[in-house]
């Protein structure tokens, strides 16, 4: 039963060996989605081509439902995920981090993973973006006296949306599914609207 690493079915070393093939598939799909080119990544913000939204939300929903399906099939222990391996939430740092990252995304034209695929595609701007990111991480690290305390503030622990809203996992997943389908319709309408088109 999964998660295999947490149920002791595999060792951490075995997990490390799987990182490469998993990354290989991830990078292959990102490239096939068009995400090695900054134009395909930023077109969403100009309502020219909303593929970023389509790829991202269909991937998110697939994995969300996939894990729930695996847990119903008795192949995945969702409780382990929620109690032991889920990422912790830090409300204010993640809100501020999101605002800052969103700015960097539209200005820089990439996010970290897609920039790696950009490098593989021969895109000079992706190399420059990644060098910039290294500088940005130095800025963050050496600015620690200023924001080190903030970085670990508003720690909510491991918390899911269904716990936060006091509902069930399945109902929350259904709401997200409906939201995603609604977003796909809005994406089509946004492209027809095309506010930045000549």
């Amino acid at each position: 039963m999964g998660p295999l690493l947490y149920t002791g079915a595999i060792s951490y070393e075995t997990g490390l060996w799987l990182a490469f093939p998993i990354g290989l598939m991830f990078g292959f799909i990102l490239e096939k989605a068009g995400f090695g080119d900054s134009r395909n990544l930023t077109n969403i913000f100009y309502f020219r081509d909303m593929r970023v939204l389509r790829v991202m939300f269909s991937a998110l929903v697939t994995a969300m439902l996939g894990l729930i399906a695996l847990s119903y099939a008795g192949l995945f222990d969702y409780n382990i995920l929620v109690e032991d391996s889920l990422m912790k939430s830090y409300f204010w740092p993640q809100l501020v981090g999101g605002v800052v990252f969103g700015l960097g995304f539209v200005i820089g034209g990439y996010c970290p993973g897609t920039a790696i695929v950009g490098v593989a595609s021969g895109k000079i701007d992706s190399i420059v973006f990644l060098i910039g990111m290294v500088f940005g991480i130095w800025v963050f690290a050496f600015g620690w006296p200023i924001w080190g305390n903030f970085y670990m503030s508003s720690d909510l622990g491991r918390i899911t949306l269904w716990q936060f809203f006091g509902t069930s996992k399945d109902l929350m997943a259904l709401i997200i599914l409906v939201m995603a389908l609604f977003a796909f319709v809005l994406a089509r309408l946004g492209e027809k609207w095309g506010p930045y088109n000549e």
Partner: protein, 175 residues
């Protein structure tokens, strides 16, 4: 209307999304955690700084976390190895699709100099953002989003709201 030939020849976005979602499901099934990317860049920043001044970095309040007593080299890490895979996987796809081309992705009327300057500035800003958020589009928005993590959804909404609003001010870069 823009000539968008560069946007042709890719997979249907829903097909790509479902394929990506299956890889993400498999990753959670095996590891209990999802995909990542920015962690590998953070470790690269640590290793580069460490090669210049090891003593300082091993005491640096943020970077010292990568250099604990008895810990392996910062590159012996799940996300770092995964990101090497991302590069190779991207390269395989680019080569079999005959899409490899050295160039600069930019709006049709934007200059190369402007675009590269913005890529650098945007990289710095995004780098700072990933550290506050403890992840990026892969680790937080996608992986945290799929497991319905509160902080990841806060991050995702903030990313897209900010990027849509800020897009107006950098439209010359992309048009």
């Amino acid at each position: 209307m823009d000539n968008m030939d560069y946007a042709k020849g890719y997979w249907n976005p829903y097909v790509a999304g479902i394929a990506l979602g299956l890889v993400l499901t498999f990753t959670f099934y095996v590891m209990g955690t999802g995909l990542g990317a920015s962690g590998a860049v953070a470790r690269t920043a640590a290793v580069v700084a460490h090669s210049v001044s090891p003593e300082m970095i091993e005491k640096q309040p943020y970077f010292k976390g990568f250099y604990r007593e008895g810990a392996p080299h910062p590159f012996v890490d799940w996300t770092v190895i995964e990101v090497i895979g991302v590069f190779v996987g991207g390269l395989i796809s680019v080569l079999i699709s005959r899409r490899f081309a050295v160039g600069v992705g930019r709006g049709p009327s934007a200059g190369v100099g402007l675009r590269l300057f913005m890529a650098f500035i945007g990289g710095i800003i995004a780098g700072v953002g990933t550290r506050f958020a403890m992840g990026c589009t892969s680790g937080q928005a996608l992986s945290g989003g799929a497991t319905m993590v509160v902080g990841s959804w806060v991050f995702m909404m903030a990313v897209f709201a900010t990027a849509f609003a800020a897009a107006y001010f950098v439209r010359k870069e992309w048009s």
